[in-house]
C-alpha cells in the first residue's frame, strides 16, 4: 500500500502532461469502486500503442487517440487492470477494483514489512475497507469466515460481548488460545473481561473502534510468528490504524442506522400445558397422597410468554466523521466516532465514543517522527445470561423455564418474585431485566510515539514508546423487589479494574540490494514491556431502601465481601530477522527471539524461539513461465518454534491468601493460608510448527489459489491438573504434556466476470485436526458444579482424543412397559430415561461413561460473492462450520419431566402408558435427570447467510453539483438466515467463553440478533 501511495505522488507531478495529440480526445473520471473516491495517478494506455496518460488529482483524464485505437487499458498499482472498448464514445468513466492479492502489495510482518511476493511465511491480509458495511462492535467479529485457518466464534450476543478467535486450532489446554494482537506496535493479549455483575464476559477489543482500522495481517506459521517469541504460538493479528495520506485534505462522513431482532425462538409450554405436567409429575411420584395444585388447568389459558416479555426489537447506529490529508513532510488524520447498539434483551446495550489522532512528520532527510493516540469510552448495560440462578439469575434460562402460570406482576402490582411451588431459587426474568441495574464503563487510551533515524543509507534506527491505559468500572444494584435481592435487603456490587501496559522498542534495520542478485532485509531489536493490573471489588447488602441504588452504598449495613488484587509482570526480549533474496527467485528467512518473562520461576526465565523458512518463486523459472499455465507460482516451507506464556502473574509461587473467622460473633479474626501449591519449574508452552504452502495464480491472476498444510506440536502444556483433595489443594499447575494440530487450508479468489458486469468470488475453507498426544497418563475430568445444574463431569481431556470431547452416558431411549422387569434392575420404571449399561453390571453409574461427542468442528468456511454493475454492488457472504456438537444443557431442565420448571413443547409428547414415546420421559417429580448423556448433544453444524449488502455509488456527475467527491449508500442484512439442526437459540454459543476445556456448552446464552441497516459513506 505504501508503494502505491508513493506512486500516486509521483504520478501527480506528471498529471495533465499529455504525450501525443491526434484525431480524437477521450475524457473521463476514474474512481475506486470500494468507496467511490476518485483515483489520481491511474495510468491509461491506448492498447497496442505507447500512447498514454495519467489521471489528475481529481481522477480526471483526457487522452487523444488515433482512430484505429479500439481499447483503453487502465492500470494502477494495487488495483486490477481494466480494459474498455471505446467504440465511438468520447467519455469513458471507469471504476477500479482492489486487487488484494497484488504481488507488489506490502505486507506488515512485525518489526518491518515485505512485498507479498517476497513472503516466505503464511500470512493473510484483510483490508478493512472491504468490510466496512458490516456492523460490528469490534474488529475481530469482522474476521469471521474471511480468512482461511481463522475460526471466529461469537460467544455471546450481548452487545459488546466476547468473540473467540482461533488461528489453526487451539494449541493449549488452559493458557489461552486467542492470538496475540499487535495494534500499531502495541502487543496485547486478547481480553475477555470477566463480568462482576452477572453479564457475559465482555470483549476487551470492543473498546477499540473498528472504523479506525486500515488493515489486518494474520500471521499463521512459525516463520511469521517466531519474531513474537513467547507470545506468538497462537498466531498474531497485526492491526494498522488509519493514517493521513499525502494529497488534498479529505473529510469523510459515514453513518448507518438499523434494527435488530432475535433470529429464532425456543418453544415452551403455555400455562395450561405446564399445569398439567406439574400435577401429572406430582401424581406419578406419589399417587396416593398427591393433591393437584392446578385442579382446572384449562382455565389458566396461555399464561405468560416469558420470552416475549424479555426480547425486543432494538436499534443500532453509528456515525463517524474523519479528516485526513497531508503534504510532502507532514500527514495527519483525526476522527471521531459514535456507536450505539441496544440489545435484543431488555436492559442490555452498548455505546462507544472514540477519538483518534495521528501525525507523522519527516523532519529532514534522516529524521522522521510521529505519534498516534486514540481514546475510547464504552458504556454497556448488561443482563445476566449464561448463569443458572442465585445472585445472577440468567434471564435467557429463566425465560425458558419460569412458570408460565404466574403473571409478570402480582395482584398488588409488584413483580412476581419467584415460584414457591417449584424450584424456589428462580427469579422472575422480567423483573431482572427491568429493575436490576448493571452497567460497565471503560475508558481506554492507546497511543505511541516513534522516532526514526537513518544513520547511513539503508541503515535505520527506530525507537518507540507505546502505552495502553485501561480503566473499567462495573456497578450493579439488585433491589429487594427481585427475588435475588429480596432476602438481603438489596445488593450492590462495585468493581474497578485498571490495566496499564508500557512497551519500549528499539530496532535497527538494514535493507540493501546488491546488484540484481542479492538482497538483504534484516532487523535486530531489543524490547521491554511492563504490565500492571489492579482491581477492587466491593459487595454491599442491606440497604435502607432501593431509592439510590448503588449510589447509596454508604448507607448499606453490610459489606460481606471485598476483594482487591494487584499484579505486575515484565518481559524483556531480543529479536532478530534476516530476509535474503537471491535473484528474486530463492528466498530465505531466519528469525529468532529470546524472551525473558517474570511469570515463570528463575529456573526457567529465558527461552529462545527460532525459525527458518525457504521460498522458491517458481514463476521466475523459465520452464514455468514458458508453460503459460501460471501467472504466479511460489512454494514455501517453514519450520520454527513459538511460545505461549499466558498464565497469571505469580502462578509459580505458593501464594498466601486471607480468610476470616469471627470468634464469638465479634470482630473478624484474620487468617492466612496458602491458596495454590505453587511450582518452581513452571515454564511456557512451546509450539513447533511445520508449514508447507503454495501460492498460485492463473489467467493473469484472475484466479489465485493459496494452499497450506501445517503440522503443529505443542509441548510442555500448562495445566491446572486436578489433584486429590487429600493434598489440601484442588489443582496443581504444571507443564504436563503435548498436543498436535494439523490441517490444510485453501483460499481461492476468482474474478469470474470482469467487464461492465463484474463478479468476484472469495472462498476459503479450513480443516484442522486436534489430538492430545501426551498428558503424563492423566485423564482430566471437566466438572461443572454450578449453583443449580449439578451434572458433574461432562467433558474429558485424555490422551489420543481431541480437546472438547464430551463425556457421559449413552442414552437408549425410554424404558417401555414390556421392559418393566429389566428396568427394575436399574431401579427405574417404564417411562424413565434408559441408558446403555456399557459394562453390563446391572447399574448405571460412572463406569458406564464414554466419549460421546466432540465440540470441535471438522471444517469451517466462508464464501463471498461480489456482483457489480455500473454504480451498484451486491455482496453476499455465507459462512459455516460442520461436524461439531453442542451440549444443549437447557434441555436437562426443559425435558426433565419433574414439572418444577417449564418444559419444552416436545414434552407434550412425553411418555405415558398410552403414548409410549421413546424420546421423552414420563412426568415424575422425582425424575433422576441430571445425568450427562448424549441425549443432550446436538449437531452444531450450520450454514449462515451472514451478510448481504447492496450498495450504490452516486454517479460522478452528481457529485460536483453536490460539492462532494463521492457518496455511497448501502443496505445490509446481517445473520439473515441460519440453516442448522440445533434446537437452541443459536449454534454460535459458548457459556464458558474462551475456555478451551469447556467448549460447546449452551446454558441460557445470549442469542445473536438478526439485523438490517442502511448506511451512507461520503467524502468531501
Amino acid at each position: 500500500m505504501k508503494k502505491r501511495r508513493l506512486f500516486v505522488i509521483m504520478a501527480c507531478l506528471f498529471a495533465g502532461f499529455q504525450l501525443f495529440s491526434q484525431q480524437r480526445t477521450i475524457t473521463g473520471t476514474v474512481t475506486d469502486n470500494s468507496d467511490g473516491s476518485t483515483l489520481p495517478g491511474v495510468a491509461i494506455l491506448a492498447k497496442g500503442t505507447t500512447n498514454g496518460t495519467i489521471t489528475d488529482i481529481n481522477g480526471k483524464y483526457s487522452l487523444s487517440v488515433d482512430e484505429s485505437v479500439k481499447v483503453l487499458v487502465f492500470s494502477f498499482m494495487g488495483m486490477r487492470a481494466e480494459e474498455r472498448e471505446i467504440g465511438s464514445l468520447s467519455m469513458v468513466n471507469v471504476r477500479m477494483e482492489n486487487d488484494n492479492i497484488g504481488l507488489d502489495e506490502v505486507v506488515v510482518i512485525g518489526y518491518g514489512s515485505v512485498k507479498r511476493s517476497d513472503l516466505t511465511g503464511a500470512v493473510s491480509s484483510v483490508n478493512m475497507d472491504d468490510l466496512k458495511e458490516m456492523p460490528a462492535t469490534s474488529f475481530d467479529k469482522k474476521l469471521q469466515g474471511r480468512v482461511s485457518g481463522v475460526q471466529v466464534t461469537t460467544l455471546s450476543g450481548q452487545p459488546g460481548g466476547a468473540t473467540s478467535v482461533k488461528i489453526r486450532g487451539g494449541n493449549s489446554i488452559m493458557a489461552g488460545n486467542e492470538p496475540l494482537y499487535v495494534i500499531d506496535g502495541i502487543l496485547m493479549e486478547s481480553q475477555q473481561n470477566f463480568s462482576w455483575i452477572g453479564g457475559p464476559a465482555e470483549n476487551g477489543l470492543s473498546s477499540i473502534n473498528p472504523n479506525d482500522i486500515e488493515s489486518m495481517e494474520i500471521l499463521k506459521d512459525a516463520s511469521a510468528t517466531a519474531i513474537y517469541g513467547a507470545r506468538g504460538a497462537n498466531g498474531v493479528v497485526i492491526i494498522t490504524t488509519k493514517k493521513g495520506k499525502k494529497g488534498k485534505d479529505k473529510i469523510t462522513f459515514s453513518a448507518y442506522v438499523g434494527m435488530q431482532q432475535k433470529a429464532s425462538s425456543v418453544d415452551v409450554m403455555d400455562a395450561t400445558q405446564y399445569a398439567k405436567l406439574y400435577d401429572e409429575a406430582g401424581y406419578n411420584a406419589d399417587p396416593e397422597e398427591y393433591t393437584p395444585l392446578y385442579p382446572d388447568p384449562e382455565s389458566l389459558g396461555e399464561g405468560t410468554d416469558w420470552q416475549k416479555e424479555i426480547f425486543r426489537k432494538a436499534p443500532i447506529r453509528n456515525y463517524q466523521l474523519s479528516f485526513s490529508g497531508g503534504n510532502e513532510k507532514t500527514t495527519y488524520s483525526v476522527s471521531g466516532d459514535y456507536f450505539s447498539q441496544e440489545g435484543i434483551i431488555v436492559g442490555s446495550d452498548f455505546t462507544r465514543y472514540s477519538f483518534r489522532v495521528s501525525l507523522d512528520r519527516q523532519v529532514n532527510a534522516k529524521l522522521k517522527l510521529g505519534t498516534s493516540v486514540g481514546y475510547n469510552k464504552t458504556i454497556s448495560n448488561t443482563v445476566p445470561t449464561d448463569t443458572p440462578g442465585g445472585f445472577f439469575p440468567g434471564v435467557v434460562n429463566t425465560a425458558l423455564t419460569f412458570n408460565p402460570v404466574l403473571p409478570v406482576y402480582d395482584a398488588d402490582g409488584n413483580f412476581t418474585l419467584t415460584d414457591p411451588n417449584a424450584d424456589a431459587w428462580l427469579d422472575n426474568p422480567v423483573a431482572v431485566t427491568r429493575i436490576v441495574d448493571a452497567v460497565s464503563n471503560i475508558n481506554r487510551v492507546l497511543g505511541n510515539i516513534y522516532l526514526e533515524y537513518e544513520f547511513i543509507k539503508d541503515l535505520k534506527f527506530r525507537t518507540s514508546l507505546a502505552g495502553d491505559i485501561y480503566h473499567q468500572t462495573q456497578d450493579m444494584y439488585t433491589p429487594r423487589t427481585v427475588y435475588s435481592g429480596s432476602f438481603n435487603g438489596g445488593q450492590a456490587r462495585f468493581a474497578t479494574t485498571d490495566l496499564q501496559t508500557i512497551l519500549a522498542e528499539n530496532t535497527l534495520s538494514y535493507n540493501k540490494k546488491f546488484g540484481d542478485i542479492h538482497q538483504i532485509n534484516a532487523v535486530v531489536g531489543f524490547t521491554f514491556q511492563n504490565n500492571k493490573s489492579r482491581s477492587f471489588i466491593d459487595i454491599a447488602t442491606n440497604f435502607p431502601n432501593d431509592v439510590l441504588g448503588y449510589y447509596g452504598i454508604e448507607n448499606a449495613e453490610d459489606f460481606p465481601s471485598i476483594y482487591a488484587s494487584n499484579a505486575e509482570s515484565a518481559i524483556v526480549s531480543y529479536l532478530g530477522r534476516v530476509n535474503y533474496n537471491l535473484k528474486e527467485k530463492y528466498l530465505l528467512t531466519v528469525t529468532g527471539r529470546v524472551d525473558g518473562s517474570s511469570r515463570f520461576g528463575s529456573n526457567n526465565r529465558y527461552a529462545f524461539f527460532p525459525s527458518v523458512a525457504l521460498a522458491w518463486r517458481l514463476i521466475q523459472e523459465d520452464f514455468i513461465k514458458e508453460s503459460g499455465v501460471f501467472s504466479d507460482l511460489k512454494l514455501r516451507v517453514s519450520y520454527g518454534k513459538s511460545g505461549n506464556d499466558r498464565i497469571s502473574d505469580y502462578a509459580y509461587i505458593r501464594t498466601i491468601g486471607g480468610t476470616t473467622y469471627f470468634f464469638n460473633g465479634g470482630s473478624p479474626a484474620s487468617g492466612f493460608a496458602p491458596q495454590v501449591p505453587g511450582n518452581d519449574n513452571l515454564k511456557w508452552e512451546t509450539t513447533n510448527q511445520f508449514d508447507v504452502g503454495m501460492d498460485m495464480g492463473f489467467l493473469d491472476s484472475r484466479i489465485s489459489l493459496t494452499t497450506d498444510y501445517y503440522y503443529k506440536k505443542t509441548v510442555d502444556l500448562l495445566y491446572n491438573s486436578e489433584i486429590p483433595y487429600t493434598t489440601g489443594y484442588p489443582v496443581y499447575l504444571e507443564n504436563i504434556g503435548s498436543m498436535k494440530n494439523s490441517g490444510v487450508e485453501f483460499s481461492l479468489r476468482t474474478a469470474n466476470l470482469v467487464n461492465a458486469f463484474k463478479w468476484n468470488t472469495d472462498f476459503n475453507i479450513s480443516f484442522n485436526r486436534n489430538q492430545i498426544l501426551d498428558l503424563g497418563g492423566k485423564t482430566l475430568y471437566v466438572n461443572n458444579d454450578t449453583y443449580k445444574l449439578k451434572i458433574g463431569t461432562w467433558s474429558v481431556i485424555q490422551e489420543g482424543e481431541q480437546m472438547g470431547s464430551f463425556y457421559g452416558l449413552e442414552a437408549d431411549g425410554i424404558w417401555q412397559l414390556d421392559q418393566a422387569a429389566e428396568a427394575a434392575i436399574y431401579g427405574n420404571e417404564p417411562g424413565d430415561f434408559k441408558y446403555i449399561d456399557q459394562n453390563h453390571d446391572g447399574v448405571i453409574d460412572a463406569n458406564d461413561r464414554k466419549i460421546i461427542g466432540h465440540a470441535l468442528p471438522k471444517f469451517f468456511w466462508g464464501l463471498n460473492n461480489t456482483f457489480s454493475y455500473r454504480n451498484l454492488t451486491l455482496d453476499v457472504f455465507i459462512q459455516g462450520q460442520h461436524g461439531n456438537q453442542i451440549l444443549n444443557s437447557n434441555r436437562f431442565e426443559m425435558e426433565s419431566g419433574n414439572g418444577l420448571s417449564n418444559a419444552s413443547t416436545d414434552m407434550l409428547d412425553r411418555w405415558t402408558p398410552d403414548n409410549p414415546s421413546n424420546e421423552y420421559a414420563r412426568a415424575n417429580r422425582n425424575a433422576d435427570y441430571l445425568k450427562m448423556s448424549d441425549r443432550y448433544l446436538e449437531d452444531g453444524s450450520y450454514v449462515r447467510i451472514k451478510l448481504i449488502t447492496l450498495s450504490y455509488n452516486l454517479p460522478t456527475k452528481w457529485m460536483s453539483a453536490l460539492k462532494i467527491d463521492n457518496a455511497r449508500f448501502y443496505v445490509t442484512g446481517e445473520n439473515l438466515l441460519t440453516f442448522t439442526k440445533y434446537t437452541g437459540f443459536d449454534p454460535e454459543v459458548s457459556r464458558f467463553g474462551f475456555d478451551n476445556t469447556r467448549m460447546g456448552y449452551d446454558y441460557g446464552g445470549y442469542p445473536s440478533a438478526k439485523s438490517y441497516i442502511i448506511g451512507v459513506i461520503m467524502n468531501f
Partner: protein, 481 residues
C-alpha cells in the same frame, strides 16, 4: 558514522542490562516461603484452619444436613430440585454425590491447614504457652476433621504433613489407611489438644477457640464410637470435673445469639450476622418458603412423622424445635429451633449468624450415662446424668417427662438413644448415632417405609468419584460404584 553505530549498540546493551532486573518482580503479597515468622503469623495460620468450620461443606450445611436427611429424622422436600440430597433420603448413594465430595474436600483442606500449623509453628520464636495452645488447637481441629471423615467414609488416607513444593507421587497417590490407625491418630490428637488448650478463654474475642473441655469431650465421643466404654466414661467425668460447664435452665437459650459460647457450649462453629460468606444456612434450610414473610426459606428438610410422634407428651423441646404457623400463615411442621427471634426478623433469617454447636454439655451428660450403662449397667450416676437432661426439658412443668428409674441395661440403652434424638434434632448427630448403635436400617425403614432402602454397606458412604478419578491408589467402599 561508525562511531554513532557503535554508540547505539552500546546504548541498547546498557538499556537491556538494566532491564533484566525488572524480571524479578516479587509478588505484592506474602507467600508460603517467607511467612510463618512471628506469633502473629502463627495465630493467622490457626485462624485459617478454624475458618473451614463455617464452610458450606462443613458445619454451615452439609455436615448436619446429611445427618438429618440420611436418618429417620427428616425427609428432603420432594419438590427440591437437587437429586444429590434425595440420594440420602432414598439410600441410592452415588460416588458422584456433591455433598460427600464437598465434605471430603473441606475436611482435607482443614487438615492441610492444621498440618501447616503443626509443621511451621514449632520453629517460630514466640511465647511458649501461646505456642502450646496454638499447637493444641491445631491438633483439636485435625482430630475433628478426621473424626468426621472416618465415621462417614471408613478407611481414609491419613495425611499428617503439608505437601512439598515439588509435589511427589507419594504425596499425591495416597492409599487408604486402616480406620483403626486413623482412630489412633484422632485419639492422640484430642489427647494432646487437651494438654495444650486452656480450660477457658477470658477475652471475649478469643471465645470459640478449642478448649481443654472441647478436646476431652471429642475424645470421649471418639471413645464412645469405638465402644471403649470405661475410657469414655472417665473422659466424660474429666469434662464434668472441669467445672466450666452446666445446662441452661431454658433449652432454647442454646440457640440464642446472646448466649453464644455460654456455659453449655463445649465447642461451636462461629458464625457472624450479616456476613454472606459466614452466614449459617441452618435456619433457612428448615424454614418454609412464604412469599413476603420467609422469602429465604428453602425447606430442604422436613421432619418425619416418626420424629414428630416420638416426643413424649409435654416435652418442651418439641415446641422449641418445630413450628407450624407464623402469624396468619399456617403450614406443615417445619424445624425452626435455630431461629433466634430476638436477634433476627423473619426477613433477616438468611443472614443468620448464630453459632452451630458441635457439642453441648447435655451431650457430655448423655455420653456419660451411655458409657456407664454399657460398661456396668444403669448405675445411679448414669440415671443422674440422663435425668438432668430430662429435667431441663420439662421447662418447669413437673407433670411431664418423669425421671427414669429401674430400667434394664437394654431399656436404658434405648432410653439414652431416644433422649439424644429429642435433645439434638438438627444438630448433626443422628446418622452417626444410628450407625454407631447398629440401628440405621431398622429405624430408617420404620420412619420412611419403602421410600428408603438402606443396607449394611450404607454404614459408610461412597468415596467421592473425583478422588478415585485422580488417585489410582484409592479404592471404593464395597457395593458402591
Amino acid at each position: 558514522m561508525k562511531k554513532t553505530f557503535i554508540f547505539t549498540v552500546i546504548l541498547i546493551m546498557l538499556f537491556s542490562w538494566s532491564c533484566t532486573k525488572q524480571l524479578e518482580l516479587e509478588p505484592h503479597k506474602i507467600y508460603y516461603d517467607n511467612f510463618y515468622q512471628s506469633e502473629q503469623d502463627a495465630v493467622s495460620a490457626i485462624n485459617a484452619t478454624y475458618s473451614l468450620l463455617t464452610y458450606v461443606n462443613q458445619y454451615n450445611s452439609y455436615l448436619w444436613l446429611i445427618q438429618d436427611v440420611g436418618s429417620d429424622d427428616c425427609n428432603a422436600r420432594e419438590s427440591l430440585n437437587d437429586p444429590n440430597i434425595h440420594q440420602f433420603n432414598d439410600y441410592n448413594l452415588q460416588s458422584t454425590n456433591t455433598y460427600l465430595q464437598g465434605i471430603w474436600q473441606g475436611s482435607y483442606l482443614g487438615i492441610s491447614r492444621a498440618n501447616i500449623v503443626l509443621q511451621k509453628v514449632p520453629d517460630i520464636k514466640m511465647d511458649s504457652t501461646k505456642k502450646a495452645q496454638i499447637l493444641g488447637e491445631a491438633r483439636f481441629l485435625r482430630g475433628l476433621f478426621y473424626f468426621n471423615l472416618v465415621r462417614l467414609f471408613g478407611d481414609v488416607p491419613l495425611v499428617l504433613t503439608p505437601i512439598s513444593s515439588d509435589l511427589t507421587d507419594e504425596e499425591v497417590y495416597l492409599k487408604r489407611t486402616d480406620k483403626s490407625l486413623v482412630y489412633d491418630q484422632i485419639i492422640e490428637d484430642f489427647t494432646l489438644a487437651a494438654q495444650g488448650c486452656p480450660k477457658a478463654y477470658y477475652q471475649s474475642t478469643e471465645k470459640g477457640r478449642a478448649t481443654k473441655g472441647a478436646a476431652l469431650g471429642m475424645l470421649a465421643k471418639t471413645q464412645l464410637t469405638l465402644k471403649q466404654w470405661d475410657q469414655a466414661a472417665s473422659t466424660c467425668n474429666q469434662v464434668m470435673d472441669l467445672g466450666v460447664y452446666d445446662l441452661w435452665a431454658d433449652y432454647t437459650d442454646n440457640f440464642k445469639d446472646a448466649r453464644r459460647n455460654g456455659k453449655e457450649s463445649v465447642f461451636a462453629a462461629q458464625f457472624y450476622k450479616g456476613e454472606t460468606s459466614q452466614n449459617n444456612q441452618i435456619v433457612i434450610s428448615g424454614l418454609p418458603f412464604v412469599q413476603g414473610v420467609f422469602n429465604a426459606g428453602v425447606e430442604i428438610m422436613l421432619p418425619t412423622e416418626d420424629l414428630l410422634n416420638s416426643f413424649e407428651e409435654g416435652d418442651y423441646r418439641k415446641e422449641a424445635t418445630f413450628f407450624d404457623h407464623y402469624w396468619y400463615d399456617t403450614f406443615d411442621p417445619h424445624i425452626y429451633k435455630h431461629w433466634d427471634q430476638d436477634a433476627y426478623d423473619a426477613e433477616e433469617t438468611a443472614q443468620c449468624g448464630s453459632n452451630f454447636d458441635v457439642m453441648r454439655y447435655s451431650e457430655v451428660l448423655l455420653m456419660y450415662a451411655e458409657a456407664l450403662n454399657e460398661a456396668s449397667g444403669p448405675t445411679s450416676e448414669a440415671y443422674t446424668a440422663i435425668n438432668q437432661v430430662r429435667a431441663r426439658a420439662r421447662n418447669g412443668n413437673p407433670d411431664v417427662l418423669p425421671d427414669l428409674q429401674g430400667l434394664s441395661q437394654d431399656d436404658f440403652r434405648t432410653a439414652v438413644l431416644h433422649e439424644r434424638r429429642m435433645e439434638f434434632v438438627n444438630e448433626g448427630i443422628r446418622w452417626y448415632d444410628l450407625v454407631r448403635t447398629g440401628k440405621l436400617i431398622e429405624y430408617v425403614k420404620r420412619a420412611k417405609g419403602d421410600k428408603a432402602n438402606p443396607q449394611t454397606f450404607n454404614y459408610v458412604f461412597p468415596i467421592p468419584q473425583r478422588e478415585l478419578d485422580n488417585n489410582h491408589n484409592l479404592t471404593q467402599n464395597p457395593n458402591y460404584q
